[in-house]
Amino acid sequence: MAQIELESVTKEFPDGTTAVSSLDLAVGDGELLVLVGPSGCGKTTALRMVAGLEDVSSGTISIDGRPVNDVEPRHRDIAMVFQSYALYPHLSVYDNMAFSLKYRRVAKAEIRQRVAEAARILELEPYLQRKPRQLSGGQRQRVAMGRAIVRQPRAFLMDEPLSNLDAKLRVQMRAEIAQLQRSLGTTTIYVTHDQTEAMTLGTRVAVISGGVLQQVAAPQELYRRPANLFVAGFIGSPPMNLIDATLERGSAAGDDAGPVVVFGPHRLAIPAEVIAAHPAFERYLGQAIVLGIRPEHLHDAALAPAGISGSAIRLPVRLREELGSEVQVHGAIGTAAHVSDDAADDVRSLATIVARMDPRTKIAEGETAKIAVDTAELQFFDPASGDSILA
């Protein structure tokens, strides 16, 4: 097992493109760290630098405290699982798995034992004599995993290993990888663009955008306390509703006694405990902010849990989507939604917000619904820097 550290690691390509910019990251012994971000954000380049497949332009990559910038990939004692699996098509499953061991001059009996053990764990025993082309996608993925396991390396590097599988198989393989990594306890860096994969697999998740690390935290922390607008918009499905708003002092009495957040015709009182926990709030009073509301923190007022029914807004319902376990309601907010640089924010540019509601809700398209807001869970961001005010 190993600790992997990246210190101010930068990768510039000869054409001047900076794929990774001053990346600082530490992966603990036995940890599964997920690098997640949109396509082209630099996550795969970062992984390839750790593998030694890309040179580092500046900064240091260390494995167990030893800088490996100039160490050849084969001497780093890491195993990599590729997106395309990269199985050797002319070799059988057994030979694919035994391949690296043969070249490391491991004794034949031990090779047989290690391959048999990996094949047993991955349920590949009936397929050992087959060629990769005779296997299904899921079986090929398992062989790729097996090839990594038999090496007993210090670390696994996985580059979107599930992205070629269909949705159902992906869920199944995701669980298998998680179990396998936990049972082996091997340090793992896992790259994906799928935030669900990142959240379900990672001990910690590092969000990268434009080659820059945005936040690294445990999945729940990342979800509940996004460090900036990018993370807030990227993590979560449907994404967090982001709305241009202002923070104002409330009137002297009633719910508005403390600060309120105002957007369009709507006013939401901010709970006193939120303000008390974040003294930085004071600086933003009277100023524009970006308000973030997770879809699950918007409830049908008639079905809202006790304690949050007091903070409600009225929204004309544009669309109702039945998803079985929940109903997603799209409501017009009557003001401009926050438009970020993220092109995926089409829904928000329509000035609507999305609510994930109890499937028993009777809210229908065309009506103006009373929506209860869980104000204790609101997020606030500085519109200039994009950083969270709550951080």
Partner: protein
Amino acid sequence: MAAIRQSGRSSRLNKKMAIWALFTLMVIIAVVMLYPFWYIIDNAFRSAGQFDRQAGHSLSGWKELFANLPVTGQLLNSTLVCAASIAIILIVSTTAGFAFAKLRYRGSGMVFLLVVSALMVPLQSIIFPEIVNLGNVHLTSSYAGAVLVYAALGTPFATFLMATYYRGISDELIEAAVIDGLGYERTFAQIAIPLSLPAIATVTVLQFIQIWDDLLVALFFLPTNQRTITAGLATLATGRTTSIPPLMAGSLISAIPAIVVYLIFQRHLVKGLTLGMGK
């Protein structure tokens, strides 16, 4: 409904006619292509008189051929020159093709262009400079000289073909082997070579046919006692009168190895020739 049925029937009829027209065209092309082979076989088994009358068959043409030409020795010469040239072409083209396709280094695109541009140079335009150059290092009138010229002429196309083939092999496969501990040299030997057997077969067949059939280089660079079968046959036709039956018999012997090699590798040849034409 009747109109639709009618239109369906006429479309089927048109399709049938098109297939028959195509088949007829193919038969005509096949006859044109195969007639020379038939002509060779038919006339190889005649005497000079039988050839003039175009009647009767005998083995006298064969007797005349073996009496006037060291056929076995020349077949061996052809085999030797072909094998040595193809070995050099394969060694250079597989290593260079792999480097062009999979290794990143400054100026690789320019070097590749330079190598491929050699395809445009016709043999006839460089034959005399080659004679002078090889003469300077005392390699004219020897197997080595001819082999070097054949290798130099065949390598650009072979390198182009191999590089195209290696580009079709996933980079991740090569990287997986590097991470598995092989390094680029052994990755080439253990992964790239086994995967490129169809391309290697294609290069082998194409170069074999080209070198086996070549006359010009063999006549210029090989001494009389080291002549290939093609060059040997040409000497049969240099007298004031040419006896056709032994020439046909020699042509038949000469064609057989090329046909055999083609038949052995034809499946790979088609695969190799359609490289880059889709997945």
